[in-house]
C-alpha cells in the first residue's frame, strides 16, 4: 500500500479499527457481520481489495475464524470481527490458534448478553470469556480501548503482539467505543510502528517449526514458500507432530506461557491519572474509563484524593502496574458494565492491602460519572 499521510477526520471506533488494521498491514478478513461490529466487515470489504488483500464473508463465525487461521499460515495478516454470539462460536478455534501459534486478531465489539441479548446496547460481559472461553490451560492477550484514537492504536498493537508472540490477540471493545465518533488525527502510515513475524533463515530441510528459541517464539514459515510442516491442534513436538512424551508435553505448554510471561512489560498497557497521592483509585477500562475519569475530576473538586487506573491490556492482567500505582491507596472501586469480572482480579491482587468495591452497570446503558461518584460516597469515608 502506498503510505497514507497524516489525516484529521471524524471517525467511528469501528472505522478506526479498520484504519489501524490497514496501517498494521492486514491482508485478510474472514467473518460474518454482526451488530455492533458490522462496520468493520463492511468497510474492509471495500478497502482490502484495494491493497491486494482478500475479504470473505463466510457462512458463519466458525468458518470466519477458520479462514483467518488458514490465511495467516500462508503469511497474510488476518483479522475477524464479531460480537457476543459470534465470539461464542469462535472459541474452539481460538484454542487452535493458541496451540498452533498462529497470529491473528479477533475483534469483539461487546454487546449486552448472553445469547442475542440486547444487540445494540453496550456491555463488558465478555471479559472472562475472552480469557477462558476456549478450553484448556492457555495464554491469551486481550486489549481494549476507551476512545476512537485508542481503538486505532490498540488495533495496531494487537497485530504487532500477535506477530511478535505468535498468538491470537483479542481486541475487546464495547458498543460505545465501536459506534462513537470523535475527531482524530491519524498518523501517517510511515509513522506507525509495525512488527512482522520472524521467518526462518535456514534451508527448508533444517526447519523445525516449533523449535525452542531464546525468545520462546519459533520463526514461522509461510505455506507455499517451500517449508513443509505439520500444523495440528494436538500437543506436538518441535517438528509439529503429535506427541504424548511427558517431557515434550510439559515443555510445549510451558513454552506457550513463557513467551507471554517474558513479554509482560511489553504487553501490559495501563494508564494512571491523578494517582500519585490517591487514597481512592477508580479502576476502569473501555468506554467506562471516560466516565471514571470525569468522576475522579468531580471527586477531586470536592477535595477527595481520587485517581484513575485505566486498564488497556486486560489479559494478562497488569498486576504489577496496579500494585505500583496503588502505593498509598486504601480503597479501590472497580467500575464495569458487568457484574464484576475485573473486580475479582483487583480483589485477588489486593491481598488485603486495600478494600475493593464494585460499581456494576447491568441495564444496557453506559455507566454515567454520577453513578460512580454516588457509589464512592456510599462506600464511606468520602462524604
Amino acid at each position: 500500500m502506498s503510505g497514507r499521510p497524516q489525516r484529521e477526520l471524524l471517525c467511528q471506533g469501528n472505522e478506526a479499527v479498520v484504519e489501524g488494521s490497514l496501517a498494521a498491514g492486514v491482508r485478510f478478513f474472514g467473518g460474518y457481520p454482526i451488530t455492533p461490529s458490522t462496520e468493520i466487515a463492511e468497510i474492509l470489504s471495500v478497502e482490502l481489495p484495494k491493497v491486494g488483500g482478500t475479504f470473505i464473508q463466510m457462512e458463519d463465525e466458525i468458518a470466519g475464524i477458520g479462514s483467518c487461521l488458514g490465511a495467516s499460515l500462508s503469511g497474510a495478516k488476518s483479522m475477524t470481527a464479531t460480537s457476543g454470539p459470534g465470539f461464542s462460536l469462535m472459541q474452539e478455534l481460538i484454542g487452535f490458534g493458541c496451540i498452533a501459534e498462529i497470529p491473528m486478531v479477533i475483534v469483539n465489539v461487546m454487546r449486552y448478553g448472553p445469547s442475542t441479548g440486547l444487540p445494540t446496547s453496550p456491555s463488558q460481559g465478555d471479559v472472562m470469556q475472552a480469557r477462558w472461553g476456549t478450553h484448556g490451560d492457555h495464554p491469551i492477550i486481550v486489549l481494549t480501548a476507551a476512545s476512537v484514537l485508542e481503538a486505532f492504536h490498540m488495533t495496531v498493537k494487537a497485530f504487532n503482539f500477535s506477530e511478535k508472540y505468535r498468538i491470537p490477540v483479542i481486541l475487546l471493545l464495547d458498543e460505545v467505543v465501536g459506534h462513537m465518533r470523535e475527531k482524530v488525527l491519524l498518523p501517517a502510515d510511515e509513522e506507525v510502528q509495525v512488527v512482522n513475524r520472524v521467518k526462518p533463515e535456514i534451508p527448508p530441510d533444517w526447519y523445525k517449526p516449533y523449535e525452542v528459541t531464546n525468545t520462546g517464539v519459533p520463526p514461522m514459515a509461510s505455506f507455499g514458500e517451500g517449508y513443509r510442516y505439520h500444523v495440528t491442534g494436538l500437543v506436538h513436538d518441535e517438528m509439529g507432530f503429535p506427541t504424548q512424551v511427558k517431557s515434550e508435553v510439559t515443555a510445549s505448554t510451558d513454552r506457550l506461557f513463557d513467551k507471554i510471561t517474558r513479554g509482560f512489560a511489553d504487553i501490559c498497557i495501563t494508564d494512571s491519572y491523578q494517582t500519585d497521592d490517591a487514597e481512592l483509585i477508580v479502576v476502569a477500562y473501555g468506554s467506562v474509563a471516560r466516565s471514571a475519569r470525569e468522576a475522579v475530576d468531580q471527586l477531586r473538586e470536592k477535595g477527595h484524593k481520587a485517581g484513575l487506573f485505566q486498564i488497556t491490556t486486560l489479559w494478562p492482567f497488569p498486576r504489577t502496574s496496579l500494585e505500583n500505582t496503588a502505593k498509598v491507596a486504601r480503597m479501590m472501586v472497580v467500575v464495569e458494565m458487568n457484574r464484576g469480572q475485573i473486580y475479582r482480579e483487583v480483589w485477588r491482587v489486593s491481598r488485603g492491602r486495600w478494600t475493593v468495591h464494585k460499581v456494576s452497570g447491568t441495564d444496557g446503558e453506559m455507566i454515567a460519572p454520577q453513578m460512580i461518584v454516588d457509589a464512592v460516597k456510599e462506600y464511606g469515608q468520602w462524604r
Binding site: 471524524l10 440486547l118 459506534h179 462513537m180 465518533r181 475527531k183 466516565s291
Partner: protein, 189 residues
Amino acid sequence: MRVELRLAGYGGQGLITAAVILAEAAGLYMGREVVQTQSYGPEARGGSSKADVIISDSRINYPKARHLDVLLALTQEACDKYFQNLKEGGTLLIDETYVTVSPTPQAYVIPARKTVREVFGKDTFINTVALGALAELVEELDHQAVKKALSSRVPPKTLDDNLKAFELGVNLGRKAKDAPPLKPADADL
C-alpha cells in the same frame, strides 16, 4: 464553550446521519472537540432512535449528552421522553406533524415534514431540513461549516436536493425564531 445536542425520533428519519454531519461540521470545520454517540433498538427501521452530539472547547470525557442545550424531537414520544433533559432556556425544535403537543410554549415549531412532502414529494430530506433549522437556531453552529459537512457526507447525486432542503430548513428556522411564543393553549398544537 460546551453544547450538548440530542436528535431524537424513530429509525429511518436520518437522525444519526444528521448528527454525524453536525459533528463533522463542529470538529473539522469549526475546530472544536466533538463526540457523537447514538442509541437505537434492534429494528432496521421504525424503532426509537436518538443521536447525541457534544461540542466543546476542551476534552470530552463522558460521551453521552446529559444536560441538553438543544433537543430536536421528531416524534411525540421522543419529545416527551427527553424534554426533561433539556436545560432551562434550552432550544427545543419540533416538527408540527410528528409532535402535536409541545411541553413548553418556548418551542420552535417547524413544518418540516409538510415542506419536504410538498417540495420533494417524499420524506427523505426531513433530516436535512432539520439541519438547516438547527444551523439557524443554534448560535454556536456555523452555517457554512454545516453546509460543507453536509456536502461531503451526502451521495453526490443528491447534493443539489440536499442543499435545497438545507436552505428550506434555514428559512423555516428563521420563521420559527421570529414567531411569537406559543400561547399556552397553542402549545397543544
